[in-house]
């Protein structure tokens, strides 16, 4: 009787932990997307010390999310072997595992690029701003800070360890990746997608995007009319790409 009791409690606990990890994964996706948006402004005219501070904050919350999530996933997946939980549970965990590792790799490549760009375009002196590329972006990060702040994970508030600087962060993530794959072996090809192809196209209800596409296209239409008047002899190199 005791044994059954014990396993029911365990089951509930595991469900709760899975839910936590799921939400943390979504939060991580959000944070890494924000990081990427900020990184695209590095080296451009929208780059400034404020942007870089925002990047630091984003990176730090990503760091906390990553370490917490990796600990919990490793614990759940290695602990799973002892307790005979359902196949579905195991499948959900494996899917989370694959999602997390993919997200880590994606984030890692963004981190490396950001590290490289920060090295190329240091902003220590005022004249450094002359070397920034005029891309047309003026303001890189309105609203991003707000969405980053809204990410929630139960452990973000609790654990207050200091986050490392950029280079050690990269090294730490690489080490984490290898270590995780050594400790838990999940055949990632056994994970299947839950959504069919093209499903995401129908998820967004509002469509203010039409104007955006139109904006990108309008340039072509209006200027083509202008260009038609001149009929410039374009170079005979033909289409590349």
């Amino acid at each position: 009787m005791n044994r059954w009791h014990f396993s029911v409690d365990e089951l509930v606990l595991r469900q709760r932990q899975q839910g936590e990890c799921q939400r943390a994964q979504e939060a991580l996706s959000r944070v890494t997307s924000c990081f990427q948006q900020l990184a695209t402004s590095l080296g451009s005219s929208a780059d400034c010390s404020f942007l870089r501070d925002e990047m630091e904050d984003t990176r730090m919350s990503a760091y906390r999310l990553c370490s917490g999530l990796s600990q919990r996933l490793v614990h759940l997946l290695s602990g799973c072997d002892s307790a005979p939980s359902g196949m579905e549970d195991r499948q959900v965990l494996e899917r989370l595992w694959v999602l997390f590792l993919s997200g880590l790799e994606n984030f890692l490549s963004d981190l490396r690029m950001a590290c490289y760009l920060i090295g190329q375009f240091p902003l220590n002196q005022h004249y450094d701003r002359h070397s920034l590329v005029n891309t047309g972006c003026t303001d890189g990060m309105v609203g991003l800070a707000a969405s980053v702040a809204s990410t929630q994970a139960s452990w973000l508030a609790l654990e207050e360890e200091p986050s490392p600087d950029l280079i050690s962060h990269i090294a730490g993530l690489e080490a984490m990746l290898t270590e995780m794959q050594l400790r838990v072996s999940v055949p990632f090809w056994s994970v299947e997608a839950t959504q069919p192809a093209w499903a995401e196209a129908h998820s967004e209800a509002e469509d203010p995007e039409h104007s955006l596409e139109d904006l990108m296209e309008v340039e072509v239409a209006s200027d083509n009319r202008m260009a038609a008047c001149f009929q410039p002899p374009c170079c005979g190199l033909g289409c590349i790409g």
Binding site: T40, S41, L99, S147, A201
Partner: protein, 450 residues
């Protein structure tokens, strides 16, 4: 962790361009200089204005103070083709037109790099994001890529959709003009870096990968270990080279002792002949020794045929037909003076091929003869008194002991042209000696003597 979708390495155009890219980056930064760089202006759209747009004309003008106008045109087009600058109108045509058409600088995040390749996963995220934005209306090639990636990256498809949704939302947080710019930037980046259009190439690649012959690592490693144990004492850098390594001490005694026509070879050289038949034949001195042995056995025709076939393979094209004829008359014709004993099928094929001789017409027969010699004659040679005698005679030179003083006594050695002349003389003598005996001339000589 990920199976990097093992697509064929588009390494044909992956030469190291790091220095070139670094120079281009420096040029791009120079162009931003407010005083002498490329002048930008504002682009007026319906809702907003976006700064920093440049025209093709201003670009071409900026380059011409360094290079000719044609080169400026080509340089500008290359900048666009590589993705440093992108066109705003007609974004599919990556060229620079020397007129008022509009361009913009690409943000450094999307500049081409050598170190990090555009990944399939990232492309999938971009396609999913575009799918969300355009509600399923993608270009045909994008649809093809999407379907392909959905199949091959199925295990991380949930991540791709999740990340695409989040990136889309993050993009929405920005101001309108910045969003337009960012979307144009991203679109331009993938226009340059998208994978090739025909997706079915991968299939052939996988088929070939499966068909490749595989060897167990225990087998290949065993072969490697065997090779190393056999040859390690003969490597001039791993083991001491007797008397001394000419590259290290500038003394060429080693080369003199190991020349092609030398009478007494070194012990190491003789030992090397015993490693494999290939080594024996390759070393011309060893081949000579083998010839002496074969003469004693009266079975020199195999080696003579092999050498003649080598000459045909490596000789001039003009001499090929005459050589082929001589070889046929000497070795292959029924009743030939030095007839070689090869199996009927190979003989038939070779004779047929000799009707229209080419360089490799004797390849099959040569291999057959090589294997005959290797399996039979070679081992008899190694046990023969000829080999044992040469082993005894072989020199073991003393290692040199160079001090600072006597290192200065260096000689230039024999001129290679003189060596070559000597070899040619030897060859002529050997040819005369082994020519088929002209019976009539011999008989007339004997008659005259009488």
């Amino acid at each position: 962790m990920t199976i990097r979708t093992a697509r064929p390495d588009r390494g044909q155009h992956f030469r190291s361009r790091i220095h070139c890219l670094k120079k281009l980056e420096a040029t791009m930064v120079e162009m931003q200089d407010p005083k002498c760089g490329v002048k930008g202006s504002e682009q007026k759209l319906n809702i907003t204005t976006i700064p920093h747009v440049i025209t093709g004309e201003t670009q071409a003008h900026a380059y011409t103070h360094l290079i000719t106008p044609e080169e400026a045109q080509a340089f500008g087009t290359m900048l666009v083709a590589y993705g440093y600058i992108y066109p705003l109108q007609n974004h599919r045509k990556l060229i620079m037109c020397n007129d008022t058409s509009l361009y913009r600088f690409q943000t450094p995040y999307f500049w081409p790099t050598q170190t990090w390749v555009a990944e399939d996963t990232e492309y999938a995220i971009y396609l999913a994001k575009r799918n969300i934005r355009k509600k399923g209306v993608l270009e045909p090639y994008e649809q093809a890529h999407y379907n392909h990636l959905h199949k091959w990256l199925n295990h991380k498809w949930d991540f791709i959709v999740l990340q695409a949704t989040e990136q889309y939302k993050a993009g929405r947080e920005r101001k309108k003009p910045d969003r337009v710019v960012f979307d144009c930037q991203e679109r331009a980046y993938w226009m340059v870096n998208r994978p090739p259009v025909s997706v079915c190439n991968y299939n052939i690649f996988y088929q070939q990968a499966i068909m490749r012959s595989k060897v167990k690592s225990s087998v290949s490693l065993g072969a490697l270990v065997k090779y190393i144990t056999t040859y390690k004492n003969h490597d001039p850098f791993l083991a001491t080279c007797l008397p001394s390594n000419p590259w290290q001490t500038d003394n060429d005694t080693y080369w003199n002792l190991n020349m092609r026509g030398i009478d007494v070879p070194t012990k190491m050289r003789v030992e090397r002949w015993s490693f494999s038949f290939f080594e024996l034949l390759n070393d011309l001195r060893g081949r000579d020794d083998f010839k002496i042995f074969l003469k004693k056995e009266f079975s020199g025709e195999n080696l003579a045929f092999w050498e003649a076939a080598e000459e045909l393979k490596l000789g001039t094209a003009s001499s090929m037909s005459t050589k082929a004829e001589t070889i046929f008359k000497t070795f292959l014709a029924p009743g030939a003076p030095r007839w070689i004993n090869i199996d009927g099928r190979t003989m038939g094929l070779t004779v047929k091929g000799l009707e229209h001789p080419h360089r490799y017409v004797l390849e099959a027969a040569q291999t057959h003869v090589f294997l005959l010699m290797k399996k039979d004659t070679f081992f008899r040679y190694l046990k023969s008194p000829v080999y044992k005698e040469i082993q005894k005679k072989a020199l073991n030179p003393e290692p040199h002991n160079f001090t600072y003083q006597n290192a200065r006594n260096r000689s230039p050695g024999i001129h290679p042209i003189i060596l070559w002349q000597q070899e040619e003389q030897e060859k002529a003598k050997a040819a005369a000696a082994s020519a088929p005996v002209d019976v009539k001339a011999m008989m007339s000589k004997i008659d005259r003597k009488k």
